[in-house]
Structures are given as C-alpha cells and as structure tokens.
C-alpha cells in the first residue's frame, strides 16, 4: 500500500498545481491524526475478530465532554477545568465505554456489531443532551497547546500520530499481547485450548479501542477549539476504509498497522488533493470514491503480479 500511496502522491504532485510543497505534506499528516488514531483501535478490534462501531461517537462525545468541562463560551458550566484533569476524565470515559462494550460482547456474548452500533447511537444522543445542540468553544490556551504548536518543525499532532503508530505497531507485532490478538482473531478456540485467556485479551482490545478514540476526541477538541454537535460525523467510515485499504482482513487474524497507516495517509492525501484542486464541490465525493477505488485496484493488481511472478 505504501507504493500505491507514493504513486498517488506522485500523480497529484505532477497534475495538481501547488500540491507539491512541504506544507501540503504536513497538512496531509496533520489532518490524518484523528482518523489515524481511530483506525489503530479499530485495527486491534478487527484483527481480534470483532468490530467496534462506537469509536466515532466515543471520539465525538469525548470532544464534547472536554469542551463542556473547559469551554468559555457555549458550555452551560463554564467550569474551565484543568487541562490534564480533563484529559484524565476523557480517557476514563473512554475506558468505561470500552469496558461496557467488552462486558456486553465477551461476558454476555452479544454480537459486537450490535453492541457497538447501539453504543454509537446512544453516545451521539448523549452528546446531543450534553451540548443541547449547541457549539461549545473557546478552550484555554494550555488545552490548545498540543494542536497549535510544533516540535522540530512539525506540528505536535503529527508526532503524536507517528508515535502512536510506532508504539502500537510494536505492541501488535512484538509483544505477547499483540500475538494473542492475532491468535484470538484467527481462531478463538485454539488459543483458549492453549491456555490463553481469550476474554482478557478481548477486554483489553475493546478498552484500548475506546481509550484511543477518546484521546482522538480530546485532540480534536484542541484542534477545533471546541466541539460542535456533529463533530466527527463520517470519520467511522473513513477509519474503516483506511483499515480495509491497509490490508486488515475483516475476518480477523490478519493485518499490520504499517498498512493501516498507509491507508490513513492515502485517504488524507485524496482529501487534500480535492481541497486544493479547482474542482466543483458537487463532484467532490465522486472523485473521492473513484480515487479510493483506483488505489485499491492498483494494490490488487500489484498483489496479483507479485503472486504470478514471485
């Protein structure tokens, strides 16, 4: 997928005026932060043989919760809670949602698709109650520090994104927990017989997914200086698309975060390309869909060629 990403970037650079510049590549990475973080948790879930459809709502509610606690305008509270305390509350909220998902899926054996879909819907509703349908904005400067500052010439958000992929990539590939995730997703019966605590692995996966989504929400609030009621709408599908494009099998047990990262960047590249090209707004989604399809077709062709010619 990295080769396809490089090819798409090359084509965009050659054909779209103003595309080939450092600022554009920084934007591509920075804009990929939120879907990128969602896609990490989702990848863990799917590799472990389950789904987590709740991540978008967890992220949105986390952003609303953070804004509700800290925003100077639009929030009925106006508490202006300490930034680090807000982060702790938001991550705690994520952990709680992940725990509830895990209990329902693992202990009560209810289908993960249904459980997390229900959670997705319920959290959107809760967000509506929390915000009263209003935007909350005007976050304190220290809250927004992470979204407004750079390190070594790159926005902090990019470092967080890259760091997250490196850390969780290592966890997935190089730790016992990561290997268990693959084993559980590949065949849940065999690891159980081998003495692996399958429910424990799944609990960790669901909690990890929700905590990462909540963290993405906290960052999103920092980035947008608040939260709007429809914040993040559509990001679930982008995360899914990135995960699948990145080579994670929906049947579980297969996939790597390096591919998912390439998928996330591919989607962000397409979005940025559309933003900078002089394209009529009504053609936007068609072009977006076609470019995604083209990328997947190219990847399939490459895989087929590798199989045929070694």
């Amino acid at each position: 997928m990295w080769a396809i990403l490089a090819l798409i970037i090359l084509v965009c650079s050659l054909t779209i005026e103003h595309f080939f510049q450092i600022g554009i590549f920084i934007n591509i990475l920075q804009h990929a932060t939120f879907v990128g973080l969602l896609a990490i948790g989702l990848s863990f879930c799917i590799i472990a043989g389950h789904m987590d459809l709740s991540i978008e709502s967890v992220m949105a509610f986390a952003a609303m919760l953070a804004a509700w606690l800290t925003a100077t305008r639009g929030s009925p509270l106006g508490l202006q809670v300490n930034t680090w305390l807000t982060l702790a509350i938001v991550l705690g909220f994520g952990a709680l949602v992940g725990l509830i998902n895990a209990i329902l899926v693992v202990r009560l054996r209810i289908n993960a698709f249904i459980v997390t879909l229900a959670m997705y819907i319920a959290l959107r509703g809760l967000g509506l109650i929390l915000t009263g349908g209003r935007s909350m904005y005007g976050l304190p400067a220290d809250f927004r520090f992470v979204a407004a500052n750079e390190a070594l010439g790159l926005p902090l958000l990019i470092w967080i994104l890259v760091g997250a992929y490196v850390i969780f990539g290592v966890i997935l590939r190089r730790t016992r927990f990561g290997r268990y995730v693959y084993l559980v997703g590949g065949n849940p019966v065999a690891p159980f017989r081998a003495g692996i605590d399958v429910p424990r692995v799944l609990f960790k996966v669901f909690i990890l997914s929700a905590v990462l989504a909540a963290f993405a929400g906290w960052l999103l609030a920092a980035r947008t200086n608040g939260a709007t009621p429809n914040l993040g709408v559509g990001m679930l599908f982008e995360a899914f698309a990135a995960v699948v494009i990145g080579g994670v099998s929906l049947r579980g047990g297969v996939g790597a975060l390096s591919g998912v990262f390439a998928g996330v960047l591919l989607l962000s590249t397409i979005d940025t390309a559309i933003n900078v090209m002089g394209l009529d707004a009504s053609y936007m989604q068609v072009v977006r869909g076609l470019l995604m399809l083209l990328a997947v077709l190219l990847d399939s062709a490459k895989t087929a060629a590798q199989r045929r010619y070694g």
């Binding site: 904005y137 005007g138 709007t228 979005d271 900078v276 009529d280």
Partner: protein
C-alpha cells in the same frame, strides 16, 4: 433465540428506564401539532424547536417534535406514523424538499393542516410556508462581501473562499446560488474559490481552510455557509499567529458562535436567518388556518420585521427578511444567536 437471565435483567432494567424517561401525557386542550425537525445537530434547528414548542404550545396545542436525524426516509416514515395519531396540524421542516412531498400530500388528504417551515418547497401545496428565503440570504451575503472587499481594497476586487455545507443539501446550494448570482453581476473581478464541508462537519471546513492557505495565499474573505464551520478556522488562524481581520470572515445562519466571533473581531459579518420570526409567523396565522379561513396577502409585522405574505401556487407564502449582523447591531436580542427565544404570547391574525 435464548437469552440469559442477566440479559433479560438488562432488558427489563432498560424498559423501566425508558418508561421513567417518557414524559407524562400532557393535556391536549386543542389537539396535537407535530413539528418535524431535520436534525438536532444544528443550533438553528434546536432553537427553532424551542421556539415552536414555546409559541405554538403557548397557543394551547400539545407540540410533539420529531428529529429525522438528517434522513429523508426516516422523516417520511415519521410523517406517515404521525398521520395515524390524527393531529390537528403538522409543521414540516423537511430534510429533503422532494422526498417529503408524498408525506405532505398524504397528510393533507387525511384532513391534517400542513405548514411549512424554512424550506421553499414549490412542488406541493401547504396551508402556509414561512421562509427567510435561502437564495435571498446568499444575496445578502454577497452585498456584505462586496462592502467588506470595497473597504479593504478601495474597489470591489480580491479573493473569496466560499465554504459550503454538505453539497447534497438544498439549503447550502440555494445560498451559493444567491451569493454567486449577485457576485457575478456586481463584483465580476472578485475570484471565488468554492469548497464543500461534507456533512456540515466543522473539521472538514478547517481542513479546507488550512489547505487553501497554502495554495491561495491572498484570500481576503472566508464565507462559511454556517457559523459553526468557523470554529476550527478561528482556531487555525490563532495557531498560525494571525490577528482578527487579517483574513476577513463571514457566515450565514446567525448562530451564537458567529455573533461571538463578531464581538471578538474574527468575523466582520453574519447573515442572520430569522428563526424566531419564522416560527412566530407560523404561530400568528395558525388559529386562522385551523378554522379553515383564507389568509389575506399583504405586509405583516412579524416580531418587528416587515414580512410579505403572498399567495403562490404552493399556497400562502410568508417571506421574512434576513439581516446582516455586524459589530454595530450584534447585541440586538431579536437575533436568535443571542438565544433569547420568544416565549409569547403570540399576537394572532384575526
């Protein structure tokens, strides 16, 4: 399907919770009126709901509001279900101008009065349509943009970044039409770069703005089709060390965030959509409509706004003027962005 005891316990607890949360049956003095809302993820809509429930409820009707969650088919199903409960009237705020028409016709065939809020639907008949005129809002925005560009350059020239909402939404397309018509006629030298924030999602607007900063460094004015789209843009401007007014900004629905931006200098203009007056306009004619009396064309005072009632092919049409909000009039309590929803009583038209 077999359910464990624990699952049954959860189901029972959930049922109890739902029952506890359900509102008690209110007295229905004059009958029930349904208000169909396209979405609640929009401050304009939540304020319209508050106004409908306060003003129409204040006339003695039980108001039931239903949120379609931006799904046209869901709204159609809601209308069909509501018809069976025999309400006296319905107030339609359609997700989609065309998809709702079969539902409207079915309701009217069942003898239910149907009033139309905020959508200029011309393909079927209503007892009354109350609109601000979305095309006109775009035209007002163009006037404001021309003034701002003239102040900056001494003549009408420069570059405008127009950020639409979702390109599948008639509301944003109408504003675009009105805006571009006037700009093409009166400001042909102004370059307009148009992009769409899919699903009206603010993060998308932020991405567009940030990308455009790299390819068109000479943007004079950003025009967002809803004020909430400006939230990340202001954040990005601040992060990049820009000062209020470096790039001018305006938006077009009158939401609280837009008014706050004006107070802080980030926005120079906001085109108000007169939500409260639009609701008030429906409420003041409602008793007459329910009596089956004909509405008379003419000029009516709707919350201080001189509004024109005309008889069109789609029924009586009340057009209420929008307003350009600037730092000079931003605190006017009449603007819905100041969140002083009218509580009534409504002066009804006899």
């Amino acid at each position: 399907m077999q359910l464990s005891r624990r699952a049954l316990g959860i189901l029972a607890a959930s049922a109890c919770a739902v029952a506890a949360l359900s509102p008690p049956l209110a007295a229905q003095d004059k009958g029930t009126i349904y208000y169909f809302i396209p979405t609640l993820l929009d401050e304009f809509q939540t304020e319209s709901q508050k106004a409908v429930e306060a003003l129409v409820g204040g006339l003695g009707y039980k108001v039931v509001s239903l949120d379609a969650q931006n799904e046209a088919d869901r709204q159609l199903r809601q209308v069909e279900d509501a018809i069976l409960t025999k309400p006296v009237a319905m107030i339609m705020n359609a997700v989609d101008f065309d998809a709702i028409v079969p539902g409207v016709e079915k309701a009217r065939a069942a003898g239910i009065k149907v009033l139309n809020f905020d959508r200029q639907i011309r393909t079927t008949e209503f007892e009354l349509t109350s609109v601000a005129g979305t095309v006109e809002i775009g035209q007002l925005a163009a006037g404001a943009a021309i003034d701002l560009l003239k102040q900056r350059h001494g003549s009408v020239k420069g570059k405008v970044l127009q950020i639409l909402g979702d390109p599948g939404d008639n509301y944003t397309l109408d504003i675009q039409q009105g805006f571009e018509e006037v700009m093409a006629r009166e400001a042909p030298e102004v370059e307009i770069v148009t992009k769409a924030a899919l699903q009206w999602e603010a993060t998308n607007a932020g991405k567009i703005f940030e990308d455009q900063l790299l390819v068109t460094q000479d943007i004079d004015l950003v025009f967002c089709h809803a004020a909430h789209l400006t939230v990340p843009i202001v954040g990005i401007m601040e992060a990049k060390g820009m000062k209020p007014g470096d790039i001018m900004m305006m938006a077009s629905n009158g939401a609280p965030v837009g008014l706050d931006n004006i107070r802080k200098g980030w926005q120079q203009a906001e085109i108000e959509q007169p939500t409260y007056a639009q609701v008030y306009g429906l409420a003041m004619f409602l008793p007459k409509i329910l009596k089956g009396e004909a509405l008379q064309p003419g000029t009516y005072d709707v919350m201080g706004l001189q509004s024109e009632l005309t008889i069109e092919a789609w029924g009586p049409n009340l057009k209420i003027p929008g307003a350009v909000i600037t730092k000079d009039n931003v605190d006017d309590p009449r603007f819905w962005g100041n969140l002083n929803a009218p509580t009534g009583p409504v002066t009804v038209v006899e």
